[in-house]
C-alpha cells in the first residue's frame, strides 16, 4: 500500500496508521492531509468530550485543544471513558489530553485548564478552526455559540441527558446559530442538569461519536451530509433516531443576523440566571 501513496505528502508511518481511514471513500489522501492540518477545540472533557477528543486524535486531527477546569472524580467514570481511576483528582483537560497522546503521539494535543468564560473564550477559540460544544450547562452553551460566531468558527454541538441526546452543527454554510433557534435562554427552573436527571455512558458515547464524525465530515469537505439546518434527536430508551429540518440563519439574529447587536461577549451566567457548571449548589 505504501507505494501507492509515495507521491503524496504522507509518510509511511502515516499511511500505516491511517490506512483503513484513507481508503474510505470520501476521505482519501486529500482528506487525511486536511485532517492533519486541522485545529479543533473541544470545550469540555466530560462525557461528550472523551469520545470526541479520542476519535479526533485517532483520526489524526493535527491540533486538538481541550478546555476544562474541572478534576476527575470516580462518579464521572461511568460515562467519561477517557479518564480512569488513576487520574482521580487530576485536571480533566490534562487527563484526556494524555489519553489522546497515548493513542496518537504524532499529533499535538493541548490541554487548557482555564475556566471558559467571557474573558478567556475568544483568545482560545481564535487559535482553532472548528469548535466542538461538549459542555454541560446553558450559560456555557450560549457563550460558546456567541464566541464561535464572533470569531467566525464552525460549531459542532451535542448534548445529552438521561436516555436522550441531540446533535447539530451551527454557523456553517448559512445555517443557523444556537441563538437563531433559541434567542432567549430557558427559565432556569426548567433546565435539568445531569447531576439532577442522570445520564447514561452509552448515550454520551453515541452523541460524542456523532459529533466527532461531523467534525471529520466538515474537515474532509463532505459538506452535503453535514448536520447543518438539521437537528438529530436520539431517544435511547425507545431505540429511535429522528433527523428534523430546522430554520436557516435568521436575518434578525442578534449575533449572526444581518445587523447584529451583540458584538462582544456578555455576562452569560447572568443572562441565563445559572452558573458555568452543572454541579448542584
Amino acid at each position: 500500500m505504501s507505494d501507492l501513496y509515495k507521491l503524496h505528502g504522507l509518510n509511511n508511518s502515516q499511511v500505516g496508521r491511517y490506512g483503513r481511514q484513507l481508503i474510505t471513500p470520501g476521505v482519501g489522501v486529500a482528506g487525511q492531509e486536511a485532517l492533519l492540518a486541522a485545529k479543533v477545540l473541544v470545550v469540555g472533557a466530560g462525557g461528550l468530550g472523551c469520545p470526541i477528543a479520542m476519535y479526533l486524535a485517532g483520526a489524526g486531527v493535527g491540533t486538538i485543544g481541550i478546555v476544562d477546569y474541572d478534576t476527575v472524580e470516580v462518579g464521572n467514570l461511568h460515562r467519561q471513558i477517557g479518564h480512569n481511576e488513576l487520574k482521580e483528582g487530576h485536571a480533566k483537560a490534562v487527563s484526556l489530553a494524555t489519553a489522546c497522546q497515548q493513542l496518537n503521539s504524532s499529533i499535538s494535543v493541548i490541554p487548557h485548564t482555564v475556566t471558559f468564560t467571557s474573558d478567556t473564550a475568544l483568545d482560545l477559540i481564535a487559535r482553532y478552526d472548528i469548535v466542538v460544544d461538549a459542555s454541560d450547562n446553558v450559560a456555557t452553551r450560549y457563550l460558546i455559540n456567541d464566541a464561535s460566531v464572533l470569531a467566525n468558527k464552525i460549531l459542532v454541538s451535542g448534548s445529552a441527558l438521561k436516555w436522550d441526546g441531540q446533535v447539530t452543527v451551527y454557523h456553517y454554510n448559512n445555517g443557523p446559530c444556537y441563538r437563531c433557534l433559541f434567542p432567549v435562554p430557558p427559565p432556569a427552573e426548567t433546565v435539568t442538569r445531569c447531576s439532577d436527571g442522570g445520564v447514561l455512558g452509552p448515550i454520551v458515547g453515541v452523541i460524542g461519536s456523532l459529533q466527532a464524525l461531523e467534525v471529520i465530515k466538515i474537515i474532509t469537505n463532505n459538506s452535503d451530509g453535514v448536520l447543518s439546518g438539521r437537528l438529530m434527536l436520539y431517544d435511547g430508551l425507545a431505540g429511535t433516531f429522528k433527523t428534523v429540518k430546522i430554520r436557516s440563519r435568521q436575518p434578525g439574529c442578534v449575533v449572526c443576523g444581518d445587523n447584529p447587536t451583540l458584538t462582544e461577549l456578555i455576562d452569560y451566567p447572568q443572562f441565563c440566571s445559572s452558573p458555568y457548571s452543572d454541579k448542584s449548589s
Binding site: G47, G49, A134, L161, L181, P187, L231, V244
Partner: protein, 95 residues
C-alpha cells in the same frame, strides 16, 4: 380531527410522563396557539408555566410541525390540520 403530539427532552413529564399522545378535537383545523392553550389547560397537571409563557411556548422548547421547525410553518400562528403531528422538544444542555 386527530392531532398527534410528541413530547421529548423531558417535557413528557408534564404530560403524564407519556411521550406520544393522540388528541381528538372538534373541527377540521385549529390554530397552533389554541392547541397549545388547550393542551396546557387539559393535560398539564402541574406547573403549566413550564410549558407556556407570555402567550407562547416557553423559551428552550423547539416546536416541529410534521418534523419541520415551526418557524418555517408560521410559528405560533401556524394552522394545524387533521392528521398533523406536532412535536415539542425541550433542548438538552447536559454532557
Amino acid at each position: 380531527m386527530i392531532v398527534n403530539i410528541e413530547l421529548s427532552g423531558g417535557l413528557e413529564i408534564l404530560f403524564s410522563n407519556k411521550k406520544n399522545h393522540q388528541f381528538e378535537l372538534s373541527g377540521d383545523s385549529i390554530p397552533l396557539k389554541q392547541l397549545v392553550y388547550w393542551m396546557r389547560d387539559n393535560h398539564v397537571k402541574e406547573r403549566p408555566e413550564l410549558f407556556v409563557e407570555n402567550g407562547t411556548v416557553r423559551p428552550g422548547i423547539l416546536v416541529l410541525i410534521n418534523d419541520t421547525d415551526w418557524e418555517l410553518e408560521g410559528g405560533i400562528d401556524a394552522i394545524i390540520e387533521d392528521g398533523d403531528t406536532v412535536s415539542f422538544i425541550s433542548t438538552l444542555h447536559g454532557g
